[in-house]
């Protein structure tokens, strides 16, 4: 039923014609009068407040991007070199195919699964280039909405990345949850996860963070992944992996993709979203991939054709710059070697900051158990701090983080880790 804008009809022809000089009343009538202001983004709010703060010691621990030990954005050397190589080739700007840069797609799949993987060798997969991790998740979600006829339900770990829910919802799926984070231990609620997952209706979709869980930093151990895979297999669940931190978590690309590879080895045909925003520092270039492990090559071809049908009316074809950089790095032995060292360097700095934070908390005399800070992995850390404590950190120490007590370890430097430890101790002693 069309909702009319009655005020519009009352506008005189003259008022409509001269709206540049029209009276306010005429202008008030808009197609968008009923459009609500969108709720402010919680994380953006943190950064906005941080920017306004004049305290020299302020810290922004909401930032979801890597920073070096000087707190600056880090452009990888391997990326710079790849860019220079690409520029020298003076390539044209012709449209990429809908599925993106073929060399990138192949290299991306090989990075995730290992180039000797049976899936790669047999070709029973399709990988399409996507608009970073978000674009990959959205393409995947849309594909499931259209072709996964067994269920509309997607099970997310509790908690999960904030954007997972609206992505799947906008794609037409329904959201459910399984237990994941245990606030009592600041660790993995393995028993709870197994319990919940074993009760998920068969053939539902279940999403896993491949490594460096966002926002908690809590990952299952390999033995735990094995049990999770067994339950997924038993319940015939459809596994959707989100891997945004391969290499960035432990510093070892093979270790970080172990869970994905294990599931596939167990005969579970997963779908996988990859992002190169963090591990190559290519944030604004929007580099990602979506892969579907298929039964055979024929199925892969059919699936690919349908992924293209989904992509075309979204944005036609993907941007080239980031994919070319990633592809160049992954396929040039020298650059790849250098990249692996650099990604390890980033991971090591994060791990180092975790260690230093715990050491400094001990030095401050904190009696709490902060082991979870070093047990957790990746960019984020669920400190276990309560909202009131977070508020105090912000008000008294100008340390900014999200209310759930999550900090981005990337925002910690050797220059400010002492201050952070001191502040945390003050609000928690």
């Amino acid at each position: 039923m069309a909702l009319l804008q009655p005020a519009r009809r009352l506008l005189s022809a003259a008022a409509q014609r001269h709206l540049c000089l029209a009276p306010v009343a005429a202008r008030a009538s808009s197609w968008w009068s009923h459009v609500e202001m969108g709720p402010p983004d919680p994380i953006l709010g943190v950064t906005e407040a941080f920017k306004r703060d004049t305290n020299a010691k302020k810290m922004n621990l909401g930032v979801g991007a890597y920073r070096d030990d000087n707190g600056k954005p880090f452009v990888l050397n391997s990326v710079r070199k790849a860019e220079a190589q690409i520029a020298a080739k003076k390539m044209d700007k012709e449209y990429l195919p809908i599925a993106g840069l073929a060399e990138f797609n192949k290299a991306s799949a090989e990075l995730a699964l290992g180039d000797t993987n049976e899936v790669i060798k047999s070709g029973r997969y399709v990988t399409v280039q996507t608009i970073s991790g978000t674009g990959s998740l959205r393409v995947g979600a849309s594909f499931l909405q259209r072709f996964f006829k067994y269920s509309r339900d997607v099970y997310l770990p509790k908690p999960s990345w904030g954007n997972h829910t609206p992505i799947f919802r906008d794609a037409g799926m329904q959201l459910q949850a399984y237990r994941y984070y245990d606030p009592k231990t600041c660790g993995f609620d393995f028993a709870g996860a197994l319990d919940d997952i074993s009760k998920i209706p068969e053939q539902s979709v279940i999403l896993f963070h491949a490594c460096a869980h966002n926002p908690t930093g809590v990952d299952p151990r390999p033995e735990q992944w094995k049990e999770l895979a067994a339950v997924v297999k038993k319940r015939n669940l459809f596994a959707f992996f989100d891997m945004a931190y391969q290499g960035f978590a432990s510093g070892d690309i093979n270790r970080d993709s172990w869970a994905v590879r294990h599931f596939i080895e167990q005969g579970i045909n997963v779908v996988l979203s990859q992002s190169y925003a963090k591990n190559m520092g290519l944030y604004g270039e929007r580099v990602g991939a979506f892969s579907v492990i298929c039964k055979d090559v024929d199925e892969a071809k059919r699936v690919e054709s349908q992924l293209k049908i989904l992509i075309r009316p979204m944005y036609s074809n993907p941007p080239i710059k980031g994919a070319r950089i990633a592809s160049t790095i992954l396929t040039s032995p020298d650059l790849r070697k250098e990249w692996l060292e650099e990604v390890k360097g980033m991971a090591d700095r994060i791990i180092d900051m975790r260690n230093q934070l715990v050491a400094n908390l001990k030095k401050e005399g904190s009696s709490h158990n902060w082991q979870h800070i070093t047990d957790q992995i990746g960019m984020f850390c669920y400190t276990g701090l309560k909202p009131e404590q977070v508020e105090q950190l912000t008000k008294e120490f100008s340390i900014y983080m999200t209310k759930d007590g999550r900090i981005s370890v990337a925002g910690v430097t050797s220059g400010n880790v002492g201050y952070l430890a001191h502040a945390i101790h003050q609000v928690s002693k």
């Binding site: 069309a2 909702l3 009319l4 804008q5 014609r17 202008r27 008030a28 808009s30 197609w31 968008w32 009923h34 202001m37 969108g38 983004d41 991007a65 954005p73 990326v79 044209d92 700007k93 012709e94 449209y95 990429l96 195919p97 809908i98 608009i131 970073s132 991790g133 978000t134 674009g135 959205r138 996964f148 954007n163 609206p166 992505i167 919802r169 906008d170 053939q203 005969g267 944030y283 604004g284 270039e285 929007r286 579907v292 298929c294 039964k295 199925e299 071809k301 059919r302 699936v303 293209k308 075309r312 009316p313 979204m314 944005y315 036609s316 074809n317 993907p318 941007p319 080239i320 710059k321």
Partner: protein, 413 residues
């Protein structure tokens, strides 16, 4: 996992026609082959053209060590958004002066159309009203339909546009369809250089269209993929959009910088939103953010940087306009040369539509049999609709194409 696959029943989708055409062209070994299919500019040597100004600006960007690869804001690069909208609406736009214009950086024109469509489905004519009719010209770019279907609209209709008999605009049919369209229907209008017909309304005809749309409360959603590229003049190609704005319409304009900047694979687009006032536009943009966040989170930076840098530097801006005119002029030359040859050959039919049409494409009027002949026998690749990309013509292949058209038309009726 069970032996049967969850995707066992996924059917093979047909390839997108225009890309299949290019694939077939690539496979063809005939030395005479000509690709008049996909819509990208080519030089007289038949080569892609990276605009000189773009090369210059990219070098500048590469040398700027202060730049990094950090995320752009969700709605995109601010300097890009503001300047892209300014290009569409004009320097002296009262809408811009009154601060009731907003821009959303998107992935190409397609991305801009999709974000606009998603927003309209959620917020236009009620909340989540999927039944609002969406009118698309007959014919139109084939992806228009897909964009609006995938955005959730259930009632996509065609409005008459191309008159095959007279090889021109069916204005009467168009206006009739607008008169009979339900109020508040959405109309996709090509701002200039209609794809695929190359046939645009005249200024007077645009005025008539606007009058009907205003009276019937129809929503104008402009698709502007060829500003500057059509006539060689940015202002002239934006006349229709600007006229609607001056007539007080609230509208969307999906802008692509793929062709006029030659930035095809960088995916540079802008969705310009013109509202009644600042407050409305701000609320609209805040909701657009939510939509963008679940599709691509934030847009790619390279293309936007190139465009913003160019548009904000007078010297580079002048250079860009010159590059654009180079492309437009070459297309105009090919049009007049092709028409002249067909007329000289005495090819049956009238051929003034070749020069009267504008932009990259021309609806030749060739029928399917004639098209088949062109492709199979002459190795000249064009769309089944008879659409040719003028950029595929060069001084070297003009004679061959003209004589082939002549053969096709005389052999088949």
């Amino acid at each position: 996992m069970a032996a049967g696959s969850v995707f066992a029943s996924v059917p093979r989708a047909p390839p997108v026609a225009v890309f299949q055409l290019t694939a077939d062209f690539r496979e063809d070994r005939d030395p005479r082959k000509v690709n008049l299919g996909v819509g990208a500019y080519r030089t007289d040597e038949g080569q892609p053209w990276v605009l000189p100004v773009v090369k210059k600006v990219e070098q500048k960007i590469a040398n700027d060590t202060s730049l990094n690869h950090e995320y752009l804001p969700i709605l995109g690069l601010p300097e890009f958004r503001a300047n892209a909208s300014r290009i569409a609406l004009g320097e002296d736009s009262c809408a811009i002066k009154e601060n009731r214009v907003g821009g959303v950086q998107c992935l190409g024109g397609t991305g801009a159309l999709r974000i606009g469509a998603e927003f309209l489905r959620r917020w236009y004519n009620g909340n989540n009203n999927t039944t609002t009719p969406v009118y698309i010209s007959s014919p139109s770019w084939e992806n228009h339909n897909s964009v609006f279907v995938n955005a959730g609209f259930k009632d996509i209709r065609a409005y008459r546009y191309w008159d095959a008999a007279k090889r021109g605009l069916d204005l009467e049919g168009l206006l009739e369809d607008m008169e009979s369209a339900p109020e508040f229907s959405i109309f996709i209008l090509h701002a200039c250089a209609h794809n695929p017909t190359g046939t645009d309304p005249t200024l007077e005809q645009w005025k008539q269209i606007a009058a009907v749309m205003k009276r019937r409360f129809l929503f104008p959603f402009f698709d502007s993929a060829y500003q500057g590229f059509a006539s060689g003049c940015l202002d002239r190609d934006a006349w229709a959009v600007r006229y609607f704005v001056s007539e007080g319409f609230e509208l969307f304009c999906a802008q692509s910088f793929s062709k006029n900047f030659g930035l095809y694979n960088e995916r540079v687009g802008n969705l310009s939103v013109v509202g009644k006032d600042t407050d409305n536009v701000q609320r609209v943009l805040s909701q657009m953010e939510k939509i963008v966040r679940t599709i691509w989170s934030n847009p790619p930076s390279q293309g936007a940087r190139i465009v913003a840098t160019t548009l904000t530097c007078p010297q580079l801006f002048a250079e860009w306009k010159d590059n654009v005119k180079t492309m437009a002029d070459r297309v105009l030359l090919m049009r007049s040369e092709l028409r002249a040859r067909l007329q000289a050959l005495g090819t049956p039919g009238t051929w003034n539509h070749i020069t009267e049409q504008i932009g990259m494409f021309s609806f030749t009027g060739l029928n399917p049999k004639q098209v088949e002949y062109m492709i199979k026998e002459k190795h000249i690749y064009l769309m089944a609709s008879g659409r040719i990309n003028m950029c595929g013509l060069t001084t070297k292949n003009l004679d061959y194409v003209a004589s082939s058209i002549h053969e096709a038309v005389t052999k088949f009726q």
